[in-house]
């Protein structure tokens, strides 16, 4: 990731297994940033907007978002993030989900998703995709919180 090693990764993923596999593969890609994992939308949103060390109040972040969550739809979270007033709305959101329906993909981009990645069932492809995401994360610029203000 960019120079600030403080950019945190917020992973919103209800499936512990998926979360673990994603984390493993991100680490294998050499990304060492802190990963905060949430299994439901409510606590994730609370962290993003209200936590003293969360993206809204503390530092730049990157959000990995699954669409199928137990308490709310991933698109709701996406809407909340992208329609918020603060710097959070500039936070890159990578939608990482099993859904590969074209309508859903379209909708996510319409709502402001920055990247949409389908989790391949085939693990080799899955690992490959996450590692590539890691490489991508290592080069993208995340907006600075201070700069945003």
């Amino acid at each position: 990731m960019n120079a600030h090693q403080s950019v945190g990764i917020v992973m919103i993923e209800d499936d512990e297994g998926h979360a673990r596999l994603i984390e493993k593969n991100i680490r294998r890609a050499g990304i060492l940033n802190e990963i905060r994992h949430f299994t439901d939308g409510t606590s994730a949103l609370d962290y993003i907007f209200n936590d003293p060390v969360g993206p809204a109040l503390s530092g730049p972040a990157l959000i990995l978002l699954d669409l199928n969550l137990p308490d709310m739809s991933g698109t709701d979270i996406l809407t909340r993030i992208k329609n918020s007033d603060g710097p959070v709305k500039r936070t890159p959101v990578v939608v990482l989900t099993t859904t590969d329906d074209s309508r859903e993909i379209q909708r996510c981009y319409d709502l402001g998703a920055n990247v949409y990645i389908t989790k391949p069932v085939n693990y080799e492809s899955f690992a490959q995709a996450i590692r590539q995401l890691g490489l991508f994360l290592s080069v993208i610029q995340v907006p600075d919180l201070d700069g945003a203000n």
């Binding site: 499936d15 297994g17 998926h18 596999l21 493993k24 199928n68 099993t98 859904t99 329906d101 309508r103 859903e104 909708r107 989790k119 391949p120 069932v121 085939n122 693990y123 080799e124 899955f126 690992a127």
Partner: protein
Amino acid sequence: MATPRFLLPPEGKIAPRLTALLVPGFLALLAAGGGAAWVTRQNQVHTRAVVHTYEVEKAVLEVRRVIEEAEATRRGALLAPATAAYREGYHRATAELPQRLVTLARLTADNPRQRDNLAGLQLQLGALAQRRAETMALVERGDQRAALAAFRADTEASSMRAVRFLMNRMAREERRLLAIRDRELRVTERAFYAVLVLAAVLLAALAVVALLTVLAYTRDLARSRDATQSLADSLEEMVAERTEDLTRANEEIQRFAYIVSHDLRSPLVNVMGFTAELEAATGQLGALVDTVEAEAPQLLSEEARLSAREDLPEAIGFIRASTQKMDRLINAILQLSRQGRRQLAAERIDVAQLVGQIRDTLAHRLADVEATLDVAGTLPEVISDRFSLDQVFSNLIENAVKYLRPGVPGRITVSGRREAQRVIYAIADNGRGIDPRDHARVFDLFRRSGAQDRPGEGIGLATVRALVFRLGGTISVESNLGQGATFTLSLPLTLESQRPEGQGKNE
């Protein structure tokens, strides 16, 4: 929803009812006509009777005149015997009398009373004629005195009065008969008028009843027509409701298939992911076992060696194969569900061109298996969904290429014809064929037939059938083992445009 009321028209037997009314009506008319005819006949009879009466009266008068004339001329002859005219008149009258009497007898032959009168009259006339003849004989002899004496005796005998009396009686009798006949006629006429009035009343009553019947029937008809109309309306409503229910149920199934297949993928990612992790770990473990075996074989048990080298890789291999298969099955369901949700777009399709494109796509495979794909004759065009139709033809042709008979150059032929508002396409091959027992099965999802020596999950024909159904068509197969197969598609010439609201919900 409201239960439709099955209001059937009343048992509408109007014809028998009208017949029941018309028959008495005609009978009444016939009675009136018959009455009129009868009265007319009675009138004729009466007229004849009147004429007859007058004739009898006339005959009586004639007889009387002749008798009186004879009497008058006899008296004239008595008073003036020299005058020949009296005598001639007398003879003429006397000669005329029998003829008049015959006429009278003929006219009154039907009446016993008149006959009696006439008999009496003839008796009197006989006596009178005899005395007259005597008197006249005396006159002609010139014995006027004796003649006058005889005349006087005559007067005393008063035959002439009796004759007059009888004649009057005869005339009266005829008058009496005429009066009777008059009365009879009046009675007849009254009866006729009564019949006429009765018939008129009857006809009027029947007309009213018939009118009421027709009105009631018309009202019933109108009511039953309304009932039929409302029934038809409610039927339409029912059909619309059912269609909506079906559409909803169909959408529900589509959504269900989608969600199920979609949510099944999520755990599968884990199974496959961690299996891969496990495999990687097994690799590490295997390397360790190798090292231990090389450096400190006494530490390595046989079980540990087998576990690391055979059991674990074997287990992982099965898990992988099964999850991969499961992934394919789930994808198949997802694909089917997605196709069911796709919006169809009808357009004119040149099927021959479509088949040509498929041939280009499959060119390498066709060349590899030495198969040919031909179009027989001209294929009718169809207005349908291009993507679906392409899938259908691709699947069928790929199947034909896939299941050829070893050693027999494949010949795949696409033919088609138009039948009324449908188009029929046949895709025939000379491949291995399908056992007739499996003809229905092959269209089911995940079901296959024959030797399982080709890759596949049993999805193609299920997809084809689902697509064909969606296009409003049907598909059937004719085949025997080892004799090739012919898949016959029947599609509507024009795909009916869909209701747009049934599409694109809840992705």
